[in-house]
């Protein structure tokens, strides 16, 4: 598989519009051949190259949990050529999936720890995969307290509303959803993610923090996380880069001597501190 650039064919089974602006959609995909599904063994935090035939390929984080054997989900924001093409597709269309790529979250290392998940905006997709994985009954006992802090610009931009509702009702997850500015009808938290993290103040005792979001959110959240006492090796971040091959060959996604597609996209904060700031 890894030596070829041919994607496995998959059918879009369902398309869900995630936000009010309608530029974020979740695609439920099933492989055309069932063996391909078995070959596609992935973990939370990995990504795949999705082909919109005629437009090209682009890397998309996997939004479904590996526990879900039914289909693979990708949440795609319309930003460029391929994502725009994907957004124009209808249910039933054939696309290509190549992967999975990247290292993914260190699920085993995280076992027995309290998990703190901080996400902002659209970058919540692979975190959602992780939350679903942890909350799965087969895994829930392996992890301790789960705290989720998730923010978006306004209520219309919150994605995975159904999941948020389900998680909100569970007592084994401390869910904190925030929006940037107050709007009428919103009864939840208001404020930027960094300040909400400070407010919620999850303990760093025996805990791992996972942070994904736009650069500006990361920039202001990291000091707060550090302030809470998290050591750099216990903070994990997911990076984004232009990637073409997914296997560390095409040469563009490197940060220093590391390839984001192969050695990442998940890095500990400690690793990032030793890497050049070129992302």
């Amino acid at each position: 598989m890894s030596d070829s650039y041919i994607p496995s064919l998959a059918i879009i089974r369902k398309i869900t519009i995630e936000n009010e602006a309608k530029d974020i959609k979740t695609f439920d995909m099933v492989f055309r051949h069932t063996e391909a599904m078995k070959d596609f063994k992935y973990t939370c935090g990995q990504f795949a190259q999705i082909s919109a035939f005629g437009a090209g390929e682009c890397p998309i984080g996997i939004a479904s949990s590996p526990m879900n054997e039914d289909c693979i989900q990708f949440t795609v924001k319309k930003v460029g050529v391929v994502t725009a093409a994907l957004h124009n597709l209808e249910e039933g269309t054939t696309v290509g999936i190549r992967g999975p790529f990247g290292n993914g979250f260190p699920l085993e290392r995280m076992e027995g720890h309290n998990i703190v998940i901080v996400g902002g905006g659209f970058a919540f997709t692979t975190l959602r995969s992780l939350i679903k994985f942890i909350l799965h009954k087969a895994n829930r006992d392996r992890y301790r307290d789960l705290t989720v802090i998730y923010g978006a610009r306004d209520p219309g931009e919150l994605i995975y509303k159904h999941d948020l509702e389900v998680w909100g009702k569970r007592d084994d997850v401390n869910l904190n959803v925030t929006i940037d500015k107050a709007v009428s009808g919103w009864t939840g938290l208001v404020g930027f993610v960094p300040s909400v993290v400070k407010e919620v103040g999850p303990s760093s005792q025996n805990a791992v923090a996972l942070v994904c979001g736009p650069p500006v959110m990361i920039k202001f959240t990291m000091p707060v996380i550090e302030g809470l006492g998290f050591s750099p090796e216990n903070v994990l971040l997911s990076l984004e880069m232009r990637m073409k091959c997914g296997i560390g060959k095409c040469g563009r996604c490197n940060i220093g001597n590391k390839f984001v597609c192969k050695d990442g996209p998940i890095f500990t904060y400690k690793e990032l501190q030793t890497m050049p700031k070129e992302y």
Partner: protein, 342 residues
């Protein structure tokens, strides 16, 4: 291993014989420069040359290569893989620097962990016949980066020009098999070997251009944010000449081409183009010449060193000779070496 000699006048016959079994690529002189072309007869090839304009990398990594094609119809999509390359190839007259570049690119493309099938298939099917340099150019600096004008890395056979004949030395089993099959060779005499040794010594001395890369990688570790990059990038116009003509540069892009049916192709790409890293959102981690120049130099003299233990440069001097604004990588290295780091 075996050492034989072949008269220069017999080279066309040799090529002719080789074409029976192999696709033969050899230097061909046309339009004022020499380039590797597929030859069908012995008379087209020209082994009296300094070095080719383009490195031979395009034989294994073509500028445009179809990865697979596809058809989109009502019933979905059908993909067709590009047929595996089974033909055997001989590359005749590869200069030691370029042959050495294959070893480096191999480490990257043919590693166990992730093998690039398209490159590796072609590479594995090829027999590399090197040609030692009796007269290195003033812009060559192979000896500074671990190579030599009579270097043998990456070759199956090495030809040394002894005047009216070539000494041919088998370096691998593949190479040995090739000379055994052909009746054109005579056994090498002691004086032939002695002459080659002498030529090699002279050629080594003739590489006058020296670049000090010792400790360069270590120094670059400290220099990511150094103002020296602003100096170095000044005259660079960010074209792709240095990277496209570099035997080791092998970055590529993958894109879709649609005519009647679709093709997914990979094409050469260059870290000197701003679009190389531009993301869909508009964010670009390497937005200006400073970052792009830094990437090229760091990749060659730092990142690759970290990952594979040697510099990613063979000192062929093509980027020096062809740069449209005469930006000289030797000077860049000097400038970096002389920069004071904090």
């Amino acid at each position: 291993m075996k050492r034989k000699v072949i008269k220069k006048s017999k080279i066309p016959v040799l090529i002719k014989d080789l074409t029976m079994e192999y696709e033969v690529f050899a230097p061909v002189k046309q339009r004022g420069f020499v380039s590797f072309e597929r030859v069908s007869s012995g008379n087209e090839a020209c082994l009296e040359f300094q070095n080719t304009k383009k490195p031979p990398k395009e034989i294994f990594l073509p500028q445009t290569e179809i990865l697979f094609s596809y058809k989109v119809s009502k019933n979905g999509v059908e993909t067709t893989e590009s047929p595996a390359v089974e033909r055997k190839m001989v590359l005749l007259g590869v200069r030691p620097c370029d042959a050495r570049s294959f070893v480096m690119v191999d480490k990257f493309f043919s590693s166990e962990e992730t093998r690039d099938k398209y490159y590796s298939q072609k590479k594995e099917n090829a027999t590399i016949v090197g040609l030692a340099c009796n007269h290195p150019l003033s812009t060559c600096f192979c000896t500074s980066v671990g190579g030599s004008p009579f270097g043998k890395d990456g070759m199956d056979l090495l030809l040394s020009d002894l005047g009216d004949k070539y000494l041919i030395e088998a370096l691998t089993e593949k190479g040995e098999n090739l000379i055994e099959k052909l009746p054109l060779f005579e056994d090498a005499q002691t004086e032939d070997n002695d002459k080659a040794t002498e030529l090699s010594k002279n050629a080594q001395k003739a590489v006058r251009s020296r670049v000090s890369v010792e400790g360069l990688s270590k120094k670059l570790d400290m220099m990511f944010e150094d103002p020296v990059w602003d100096q170095i990038r000044k005259k660079c116009v960010n074209c792709g000449v240095c990277t496209y003509l570099c035997p080791t540069c092998c970055c590529f892009d993958i894109l879709d081409e649609v005519t009647d049916d679709g093709k997914r192709v990979r094409i050469w790409d260059s870290c000197q183009f701003p679009l190389f890293t531009a993301q869909g959102s508009g964010h670009n981690p390497r937005p200006s010449g400073r970052e792009m120049m830094r990437q090229r130099i760091m990749h060659k003299f730092n990142y690759y060193v970290d990952n594979f233990g040697e510099n990613f440069c063979v000192g062929c001097g093509r980027c020096v000779r062809e740069c449209p604004v005469s930006l000289d990588i030797r000077e860049i290295i000097e400038e970096i070496c002389s920069a004071e780091t904090k």
